[in-house]
Amino acid sequence: MKYRVVAAIDFGTHGSGFAWAVLPAGAQGPDQRQIDYPDQWDDAPLTYPKNLSALFLDPDGNDRDWGYAARRAGAAGEPGRLEHGFKMWLSPEGRDAAQGPGAGLVGTPEQAVPLIAAYLRRLRAAALDRVVGGGFMESDIRWCLTVPAIWEPEQRNLMRDAARLAGFPADDRDRLILVTEPEAATVYCAQDSAAGIGGLGSRATLVVDCGGGTVDIAAYRCTADGSLEQLRRPSGGKLGSNYINRRFQVQVLAPRLGQAAFKALEAAPAQLLELMDDFERMKTHFRGDSESPVSIPISLKASRIIDPHGGTDRLAAEQQGVDDHIVIEPDVMRGLFHGTTEPLVKLVDTQIRELLADPVVAADGLRVILVGGFAQSHYVQTRLGLHLEREFPAGVQLMIPPNPSRAVLGGAVHYACRPEVVHARRASNTYAVEISERRRFGAVFRESEAVRALTITKVKGQGAFRDGVLDPLVFMGESVQVGSERTYTFVPLTTDQPEVEVALYAVPEVKDLTVNTPGARRLGTVLVDISESIGEEKVDDRRVDLYFTFGGTEIGVAAVNPRTGERRETVVEFAGIPEQ
């Protein structure tokens, strides 16, 4: 084993943490791994494996405190500002929302990266402190960073950039590996006895990872050798618990306090966060069939902020005289959940039906495992449980590990110990190489409209070619075995062409593949020098061999000139696989 320690970092919208384990020499099963989940953070109200994803920046913009300590600094009125929720700024909506009303709560990806980097630097330092305390060196550690499965490659690249800025060995793809959150959770359920699942077995398993910002869904099955095979491409949506929080602010808090008082509270993020913490706790324990109202206390400090803006009087008027609590009637509370849990239930339902369409899955039965911080919510558990019971009375079983908030962290540690535990994944895109396709007689009648729109290059002695056609290597949704190789032979267009440029594309389609297909993205290119064969009579004698390796974390591309033995290599992202 090259590494003595593996450390996983789970950077979440609301909370972030790390876990680590020692890898002694010799074979060691997952059950022998003693994972440490540090759960004590300065100023945290409870022990929990996650610290608050927040930073307190001094007036010069330097991060002075992080986590709950940042919130305390903000509450103490120290000079500077509190930033939180910046993971969500990485999404394109973050950019759009930053230009719209209520821009005070959101930011752009450009603003997010330095903040994420600063936060990750703190988290890395805390992890190093813990690991080095055991006598290990930094070089002994393999790091694993979790990312949502539904993130676009651009967001994952930004995350890697932030990790690099934070001091992680981001350029060494073996020392810093990325894993998607549902995949990590699946590995946890499959390998860790603390999950209480008893392994995944050969039954298909749908893992629903409910976080603060996103919900990720992935389906896996255990193969005979204990490795995992992905059954479907990951799906999900922006259905995290933060959307309920936001709804609470917009639909309950703002109308009851009045816009002026609410804005004043927003301008004091530490007080707002404190209030939201109480709401978070009440939200977790709220039951769908509850008939009791939920009371969120308003602290004295918060009252002093809203009172000059008429907030206290308005609250009393809105709530039959109660001005020291936000009282949420059970129906209102259910309404806050509704906008998030109903799409979530529908999404899970669709995934289950699609999986059950496979006769093997239908015969063996299906297991749905709910993990993530939001999975601790009684409302989510019962809402999903009742739905599954009603719609799938037999063959679908809902399971919730006793500590669902740990699943992603623990799974990321297990994954980093042995990334090959995931044996096959589904391609999220079609992966294709760009070619110039020779036009045959009458080709125009067979060409699709998309191909007909491409330009034609005429080559003396060779005929006419359509430029920009994409020849697929792997189709979207295809199961690709980790480490499998695809080969391809390229021939230049002319006998005097000094080099060949090989371009690899990802396309969210399976037919009519061209460089102009909507969503087509060039992932990378390899340039191969073939000047030594200029003058060969036939272009076929000037071929270049290409090898595409679908590894655990990326697509390896190697172009080989068989005449000189020259080899050019690069790596490009494999969407659906957690790395770029």
């Binding site: 003595r4 020692v22 002694p24 020499a25 003693q34 440490d36 989940y37 540090p38 759960d39 004590q40 300065d42 100023d43 109200p45 409870l46 022990t47 929990y48 494996p49 305390r72 509450a75 103490a76 813990r130 305390g133 055991g134 006598g135 290990f136 603390a194 706790r281 009440m282 977790t284 324990h285 009791s292 009371s295 206390p297 308003i298 602290s299 004295l300 400090k301 009252s303 002093r304 009172d307 206290t312 001005d323 020291d324 609590h325 006793p402 500590n403 740990r406």
Partner: protein, 237 residues
């Protein structure tokens, strides 16, 4: 016939077959080098092999030591601590419910907001002392305690469910093991420290501590899983 002239042998004398072979004349340096270098390479290879074996052995010993040290570390979050972690969250939820229940009773006890807030905090503190005391309380103890704070004429309301949950939590904690305690201790007269205390929402945090409303959830040897909820005086907005 003897040959008197110079023969084909040096000195004109042929070698005698029985005689020991003449030691080879010292070869010029260039010819001798490969043999010597080969010997040196061979020796170095053997040394490298031996050093590698030593390194592997030392690495193995080091890994074993790491394993032992890791096993001995007291700051790791073990499975037991993680289990307490779960129950401490259950305590936090129960605490919210008890406080919420006390609020309804306090509203009935006092109309004036300040006295209502005062009654709320006093009732909550008294109930926590009763139900999280050394010995498990009976359901009647809830009502007796409430009557002591609010007066017998103000009903606490049904607490069967809360009582059952409290008993369940106590039992769960007892089954876990580890030296657990409900920590009510306070340094009276000091102002609350946000790192150590959670301040009652309506308390003035700049005033000295006067009361521990709800205890810390503490496993001996570890910082509290849940900090104590403390009160100073009811603050004015």
């Amino acid at each position: 016939m003897e040959s008197s002239g110079p023969g084909p042998w040096p000195g004109g004398t042929p070698p005698v077959p029985s005689a020991a072979p003449t030691p080879p004349a010292p070869a010029p340096d260039g010819a001798r080098m490969p043999w010597r270098v080969f010997q040196e390479v061979k020796a170095l290879r053997a040394e490298v092999r031996s050093l590698r074996a030593e390194q592997e052995e030392a690495k193995g010993r080091l890994d074993k030591l790491y394993e032992v040290v890791h096993g001995l570390r007291a700051d790791r979050t073990t499975e037991l601590e993680s289990a307490h972690h779960e129950t401490s969250h259950a305590y936090s939820a129960l605490r919210d419910r008890i406080i919420g229940h006390c609020r309804s009773a306090a509203e009935a006890a006092a109309e004036q907001p300040h006295y209502r807030a005062e009654a709320h905090v006093r009732l909550s503190a008294a109930l926590f002392r009763t139900v999280l005391g050394e010995h498990p309380a009976a359901e009647e103890d809830w009502h007796r305690t409430a009557a002591g704070v609010l007066g017998a004429q103000v009903p606490l309301g049904p607490v069967t469910d809360l009582h059952r949950h409290t008993a369940e939590l106590r039992a769960r904690i007892a089954e876990l093991g580890g030296v657990h305690r409900w920590n009510f201790e306070l340094r009276l007269g000091h102002v609350p420290d946000p790192r150590l205390h959670e301040v009652w929402p309506r308390s003035d945090e700049h005033e000295p501590l006067s009361l521990c409303v709800a205890p810390a959830y503490q496993v001996v040897g570890r910082p509290p899983h849940v900090r104590p909820l403390v009160h100073t005086v009811i603050g004015r907005v």
